[in-house]
Every structure is written in structure tokens, then in C-alpha cells.
């Protein structure tokens, strides 16, 4: 029988200060990158036009740019996509209609010597109104997702603290994922949004497994005389093999998507892979640790008040 952990007794909660430090560093890096480099939004959110072109032979970005310069469409972004014969051209919102734009782009590129034959493989046009709507929808989706989870955890475990700690862990993961997105210069697109929402679900999933165990252990003989921190630590240890195994299989799935899923799925899989790692980590060190510190601070405040009452 292969076993990752037989009966693990790691002192996770005891080392939480180190974890807070690590999380603080990661979040500062994430937020710092966001502040300095900002987040590049895909046309899904900004509005604009995207044209995917496949050339007969590998062109240089400069040649494509020279061809496009002729029609003066403003600041266009030209990126290699998948292999060296395929390119994506992004254009900002203009007054021209999408069909007119495509016609002009095709015309300009066909005329440019050295590009050879080309095939327009994909055109996406997102108007300003739709872009704004999608932005709003994205914000709503995240907020409602978090709200739904908060309510569910608070209800299922009769613990508002648990709900808040779970949300804090999720928030921590979001910041790191979005920071990684910005750090690697990837764009915030609809698939990335989908991946972030999946991570919300995944991260909270892990947290729930640990909380479930805590709830189940409550009142058991083995838990008698233990502090809340010790109980939490036990619950995390007891579910550790499952947490790690699941993280491993999900991470493997995401890694394979990243490697073979093609350019379209790349950003999605990237966020998923990072999110799985931070999600697992945050289950142990955020959701678990926060609730412990919170409970302890409440308990010590009650104790102090009791003392004060006794003195008086």
C-alpha cells in the first residue's frame, strides 16, 4: 500500500506566524506587481477587435506591423499565437464596423510583400457597451460567488467566523493568482475569469473538508482538554493526505491542460495550476490559522473582562 502520510502529526498551526509572513510577502508582491505593471484586459472587457491570422510562411512582427501601418488603425498589438505562422492582432475600439476593419486588415496584409497567402481564422469584435457589461458581470460573478460561499459556510457550520476565514483564504488566493497573471504579462480574459471562479470553488472546497472534520471531532474523547488551536491542527492533519492527493490530481489535470490544451486554454490552465497550489496552502494556513487566532483573541478578551469583573 502506498501512503503519502500514515498518521501525520505536523504542527501546522504552531508555525502559522511564518505562514503569515510568507502570505504577506506573496500578497505584497502580487499587489505591488498589480500596482506597477497593472493588469492587461482582453478585448472581452475593454471592447475592441481581435483578428487571428494564419500565414503561409512564418512572417516577422515588423512585416505585419508595416502592413498594418498603412491603414492607420491606431495602436495595434501583434502577438504570436501558438506557432510562428499564427498571429493575433488586437485593435482598440474604432468607429469602423467590424466587417470594414477585417476587409481593411486583409487588404493591407495581402498587399504587403513578403507575407504570402493568409487565412483569417478568427475575428472577435466586442463593442463598448458589451465590454462594460462583461466587466460588471465579472465583478458580480466574483462577489456573488464569494457571498454564496460565505452564506453556505456560515450556515453549514453555524459559524460566521468560519465563513469569514474561508472568504479570507479565497481572497488571498485571488490576489496571488491575479498577481501571477500580471507578473507573467498575461491578459485578463473571460477564460481567466472562469479559472478564478473555479479556484474560488476549489479553495473553499478544501477548507470545508477541514472544517467538516473539526465539526465531526467536536466532543470526541480524543479531543478533550485540547485547545482550539490543537483541535484545528488535528483536523488539518487528519485530512492532510486527502488534501494533498486531491491537490496533486487536480494539479496534474491543470498541468496537462497547460502543456497540451493549446494556446486558447493556456491562460486558463495557468491560473488553475497556481490556484490549486495556493488553494491547498491557504486551506491550512489561512482558513485554519485565521479562525484560530480570531477565536483566541475573542477568548482572551472574554477572560480579561471576567477578570475585571472579578476584581470589581
Amino acid at each position: 500500500m502506498i501512503e503519502l502520510f500514515r498518521t501525520p502529526r505536523y504542527n501546522f498551526i504552531g508555525k502559522r506566524r511564518w505562514a503569515y509572513l510568507l502570505s504577506a510577502v506573496l500578497m505584497v508582491v502580487g499587489l505591488g506587481t498589480l500596482a506597477v505593471r497593472g493588469l492587461r484586459y482582453d478585448i472581452d472587457f475593454t471592447g475592441g477587435t481581435l483578428v487571428q491570422v494564419r500565414f503561409e510562411r512564418s512572417p516577422s512582427v515588423a512585416t505585419i506591423r508595416a502592413g498594418l501601418a498603412r491603414i492607420q488603425l491606431g495602436e495595434s498589438i501583434i502577438q504570436e499565437f501558438g506557432d510562428d505562422r499564427e498571429y493575433i492582432i488586437r485593435l482598440p475600439l474604432t468607429t469602423a464596423s467590424p466587417e470594414e476593419l477585417t476587409k481593411r486588415i486583409t487588404g493591407a496584409l495581402t498587399q504587403e510583400a513578403g507575407l504570402g497567402k493568409l487565412e483569417i481564422r478568427r475575428i472577435e469584435f466586442v463593442g463598448p457597451q458589451v465590454g462594460r457589461d462583461l466587466q460588471l458581470q465579472a465583478i458580480y460573478a466574483v462577489l456573488f460567488g464569494l457571498g454564496g460561499i460565505l452564506l453556505y459556510v456560515a450556515w453549514a457550520f453555524k459559524s460566521l467566523k468560519g465563513g469569514v476565514a474561508a472568504i479570507a483564504a479565497v481572497f488571498h488566493d485571488m490576489v496571488i493568482c491575479v498577481g501571477a497573471l500580471s507578473l507573467t504579462g498575461r491578459e485578463f480574459s473571460l477564460p481567466v475569469l472562469a479559472a478564478l471562479l473555479t479556484i474560488i470553488g476549489y479553495s473553499v472546497n478544501d477548507t470545508i473538508v477541514a472544517y467538516d472534520r473539526l465539526r465531526e471531532n467536536r466532543g470526541k474523547y480524543s479531543q478533550r482538554g485540547k485547545t482550539f488551536a490543537e483541535q484545528m491542527n488535528d483536523a488539518i492533519n487528519q485530512t492532510l493526505s486527502r488534501t494533498v492527493l486531491t491537490a496533486l490530481t487536480t494539479f496534474l489535470s491543470a498541468a496537462i491542460l497547460l502543456a497540451f490544451g493549446g494556446k486558447v486554454l493556456e491562460d486558463f490552465a495557468f491560473i488553475l495550476a497556481i490556484g490549486v497550489v495556493t488553494g491547498t496552502y491557504s486551506t491550512i494556513y489561512m482558513a485554519g490559522a485565521i479562525i484560530v487566532d480570531w477565536t483566541q483573541s475573542v477568548e482572551s478578551r472574554i477572560a480579561r473582562r471576567k477578570k475585571a469583573v472579578a476584581k470589581a
Binding site: I2, R6, T7, R54, S97, P98, E99, T102, R121, R122, I123, E124, F125, V126, G127, Q129, V130, Q137, A141, F144, G145, G148, I149, Y152, A156, L190, P191, L193, A194, L197, T198, I200, G201, Y202, N205, I208, V209, R213, E216, Q238, T239, S241, R242, L245, T246, T249, T250, L252, S253, A254, I256, L257, A259, F260, G261, G262, V264, L265, F268, A269
Partner: protein, 518 residues
């Protein structure tokens, strides 16, 4: 096997049989999204306010005619803003008559009034405005559906979204520009008289009589591609529109070889109006205007009784065919604007399918092998459950008519990971119980029992997120949410119920179980 076991096995066989029924034959039952098979996705915005404005304009016209019939002299009747008609009488003496006529416009109510000056406004009722907006979108959907049907697209999606948007998906369309022109054309066909009293030069200089306007005839030279615009002065009044049309057909243009024309035929009412108009205006020119462009302005030689006319304009056969389609399908009640467009060429679609399938097979294979190595016989059980999960997931998508998109494939890949999680939870729990010294049977029982609450909790939270994604997401995100949601629901059945059944069959029937292969 005990009876309960047979019943449970029966349920699984039923689910499997149903799934295969829905999935057979695979090629026809699974709808592929536009990103996988190529095609156009369009989001159109109907400019509903233009429709409301147009209706107000017509009401103003009716009111003016009504007042004139009653002998009430008016200084001005005009539309103001979106839904207000301003009326100014020549004198206040006919005030009561004017109000009686105005009361006949049931969808309007009197707004401001100034009895002494003989001025009042009529405002369209809020309910009527809302109704008109709704009508405009509804009609636009109908018209577009008609056009697309005649154009010949297999399995198009044309649905209304929100207040004034229309989502159109045309899978497999090879010529997106042509399809867009066909869908987006307002196709408002109007017949108006030329204003022969106003010279074109004078009109271009800005001195146009209030009842006339300038329209252009556009001609594109076939060789040089240069566009020529010739101005005409026409009367604003529309004598007849394309609404009274019964037929529109493509014909060769006898006067211009190589070009095509569209022959149209009016309904009985339309033919009568057409006959009257031509009779009253012999020797004048009748302008045929489509979407604000003048196509031709032939001279009326005599009364035309049969209600037939021809639209010429140096069309190619394709242009003429598409024009005939839009004329037959009718005009859009209001112009539409393209808000969002995604076009995927068929070759890109094929590439994404190949890559997506490769990725999903790869992640599936790795998980399969991992489970087998780590949990041995129990791992095999989990693998069988996983296969059943995929079959049920695809069958549900086929049954609901859901579309499989590339993000949808990603959702399936994620489902694989999460379904395995359920089995990992259970197996780890069984191992734990075994470690505590329980007998194999007791350990299996306890493992499944104790993991149940956790499994429900984890599935529900992710399904909640998937449902939220579905509600707030669009196109690609929706596809992801659908496959994730169905996959998780199926995983509750396969990873818990079905796995339990296999364990029971393996270990519960026998009298003495020595060890569990886990």
C-alpha cells in the same frame, strides 16, 4: 445478492442504458460550439427608441390628417423628443374639436396644455412605450429568423437577450460578411415621388422644402471600385412600403446584361394603393428607396394595375438573391447594431478540438494510472466510476441540448479532477478506519458514511459557484459552467452511489472478508 443490491444495480444499468440511448450516434447528438466547429456569434442591439420615435412620427401624421378632416386649422403638428407630439392650432377657437380628435389616439394622453394660445402636447403612455420597445425586439427576432431560415443555415440560434439584444449563432457559416449583411440590413423598402419642382443644386445648397429631402443613388463601378453618389430630391411622404409585399424574385436584368434585378409583387391592398398612386402621378418619377438609398426612379408612363415592380441596381446574382430574401422576410422594425461579434474559421475549430481532446485524454489517463497505483483494486473501482461519470455527463449534455465548447472541455477536465476527489475522500477515510482496527466491512461502512457530509458540502459549494457562473457569464464561461455543473451532479451519483455499490458487491456478499484492496 440481496434485493436492495439488485435495485441499486438496476438503477445504475438504467442510467447507463439511458445515457447510451441519448448518446447514440455520438456524431449527431453532441452539439459542438462555434469555437469547435467554426461559425459566427453575433450580439445585436435593436435601436428600439428609433422604433418608438417612428411610431410617434406616424401618430403625429395621423393626427394632422385627422385635424384637417375635421376642419381644424393647424400651425404645427410635430414629434418632439421620443414620444411626444406637439400641436399648435392656428387659433384657439377650435380647441374642443381638436381635443376630441386627439382623444382618438388611445395610446397618447394630453401632457401640457395652453388653452389660450391653442397649444398642447400629447405624450405616449408609458405602458405603450414599453410595449412598442418589446414589439420592436420581438419583431426583429422573427424577421431575422425568417431571413436566416431562407438563407439556409443548419441549427441556427436566434434568441432574445435582455431588453433589447438579440443573440445569433450560426454554426458552420463560411461567408460571415454575407451573413452579417443579410441579418443586419434593415430592408426598409419605400416608394416616394421625386420632387421635380426643386432643383437638385438648390436642395444641396440647403434650401430644401419642409416636405422634401435629398437621397443618394450609390453606384459602384465594377472595374475601378469607385463609388459614385448621385443626389435626388424626393418628397418625404412614403406612398407604399415593403410591408405590402408578397413576392420577391431574382431575374436577369434585360437592360443590362450580366446584372440581376429583383421583381416584386404586392398584396391586394398594396396593389390597389400602387395602382392609385401610379394613376394619379402619371408622367412623374417614382423613387424606389431601400434603407435610405435610392435604387432607381423610373418614370410612371401609365397606371400600373397588377401590383408588380422591379428593383434594378446592377446587382450580382448573390446580391440580388440576398435582397430578395430580406424583402420577403420583411423589414426590421428598427435598425440593429452589432455589439459583439466572434467569428471562428472552420480550420481553427478543428485544431481546437484536436488539442482539447488530447488534453482531456491526457489528464484522464494520468489520473487513471495514479488511482490504480495508489489504491489498487479500489482505484480500479474509482476509474470505472470516472468512466461512467464521463458517459453520463456527455449524455446529459446531449439530452439537454447543451453545447460543447472549448471551455466546456476544460470544465470536463476539471470534473475529472473533482470526481476523483470524492473517491479520495472516501478511500482515505476507509484507510483511517482500518488503521483504527475496524473490520474491513465496518471500515467501508464507516468510510462511506463519514465522508458523505463532506462530499455533499464540497459538491454543493462548487455547484453554487457553477450556477453563479452560468447566470452571470456569457458564451464561453457559460459553456464551462454547464459542463462543470452537470459533471459534479453526475459525480455525486457515480463517485458515491456507484462506487458504494461496487464495494458492496465485492465485499458485502461474502461471508468473511480478510482485507480490502485499498
Amino acid at each position: 445478492m440481496p434485493r436492495r443490491l439488485w435495485q441499486r444495480a438496476g438503477l445504475v444499468v438504467l442510467a447507463l442504458a439511458l445515457s447510451i440511448w441519448y448518446l447514440y450516434p455520438l456524431r449527431e447528438t453532441i452539439n459542438l460550439g462555434l469555437d469547435l466547429q467554426g461559425g459566427i456569434h453575433l450580439m445585436l442591439g435593436v435601436e428600439v427608441d428609433k422604433y418608438v420615435g417612428g411610431q410617434t412620427e406616424r401618430a403625429a401624421e395621423d393626427l394632422k390628417n385627422g385635424l384637417e378632416r375635421k376642419g381644424v386649422a393647424v400651425k404645427r403638428v410635430a414629434r418632439e423628443g421620443l414620444s411626444t407630439v406637439a400641436v399648435e392650432l392656428a387659433s384657439a377657437t377650435n380647441w374642443n374639436d381638436a381635443l376630441t380628435v386627439a382623444a382618438e389616439l388611445a395610446s397618447f394622453e394630453v401632457g401640457q396644455r395652453d388653452d389660450k394660445a391653442g397649444r398642447f402636447t400629447l405624450v405616449m403612455r408609458e405602458r405603450q412605450v414599453a410595449q412598442l420597445r418589446d414589439d420592436a425586439v420581438r419583431q426583429a427576432v422573427e424577421t431575422i429568423r425568417n431571413r436566416v431560415d431562407q438563407f439556409g443555415v443548419a441549427e441556427p440560434t436566434i434568441v432574445r437577450q435582455g431588453d433589447n439584444r438579440i443573440l445569433i449563432q450560426l454554426p458552420g457559416v463560411q461567408d460571415p460578411d454575407r451573413a452579417k449583411a443579410l441579418i443586419g440590413k434593415t430592408a426598409l423598402l419605400e416608394f416616394k415621388l421625386l420632387d421635380e419642382r426643386t432643383p437638385v443644386e438648390q436642395a444641396l445648397a440647403g434650401r430644401v422644402p419642409e416636405t422634401s429631402e435629398v437621397v443618394y443613388q450609390r453606384r459602384v463601378d465594377k472595374e475601378t471600385k469607385a463609388e459614385r453618389r448621385q443626389p435626388y430630391v424626393v418628397q418625404k411622404r412614403t406612398l407604399l412600403t415593403g410591408a405590402e409585399l408578397t413576392r420577391a424574385e431574382v431575374q436577369a436584368d434585360p437592360n443590362s446584361p450580366g446584372n440581376w434585378q429583383v421583381a416584386i409583387e404586392f398584396t391586394a391592398t398594396g396593389a390597389r394603393v400602387f395602382g392609385d398612386v401610379t394613376e394619379q402621378n402619371v408622367a412623374r418619377h417614382l423613387a424606389i428607396i431601400l434603407d435610405g438609398n435610392l435604387y432607381s426612379a423610373p418614370r410612371i408612363n401609365e397606371r400600373i394595375p397588377g401590383g408588380r415592380a422591379v428593383i434594378t441596381g446592377q446587382f450580382t446574382v448573390e446580391e440580388a438573391r440576398d435582397l430578395a430574401i430580406v424583402l420577403r422576410a420583411g423589414a426590421l422594425p428598427a435598425p440593429v447594431a452589432i455589439l459583439e461579434e466572434r467569428t471562428v474559421g472552420p480550420s481553427l475549430g478543428a485544431d481546437s478540438i484536436r488539442q482539447g481532446m488530447l488534453a482531456i485524454l491526457g489528464s484522464g489517463a494520468v489520473v487513471f494510472v495514479f488511482m490504480l497505483l495508489y489504491y489498487r483494486l479500489s482505484g480500479l473501482i474509482a476509474d470505472v466510476a470516472l468512466t461512467l461519470n464521463l458517459v453520463i455527463l456527455l449524455a446529459c449534455m446531449a439530452a439537454f441540448g447543451a453545447t460543447l465548447t472549448l471551455p466546456g472541455i476544460a470544465g470536463i477536465a476539471l470534473t475529472i479532477g473533482m470526481a476523483v476527489d470524492t473517491n479520495v475522500l472516501i478511500f482515505e477515510r476507509i484507510r483511517e478506519e482500518l488503521r483504527l482496527g475496524k473490520t474491513p466491512r465496518a471500515a467501508i461502512d464507516a468510510g462511506f458514511h463519514r465522508a458523505f457530509r463532506t462530499i455533499i458540502d464540497t459538491h454543493l459549494t462548487v455547484m453554487v459557484t457553477a450556477a453563479i457562473l452560468y447566470n452571470f457569464g456569457t458564451g464561453p464561461v457559460k459553456g464551462f459552467a454547464v459542463s462543470l455543473f452537470i459533471g459534479l451532479a453526475a459525480s455525486l451519483f457515480t463517485a458515491y452511489f456507484f462506487t458504494r455499490l461496487l464495494f458492496d458487491v465485492l465485499y458485502m456478499g461474502r461471508r468473511k472478508v480478510q482485507a480490502v484492496s485499498i
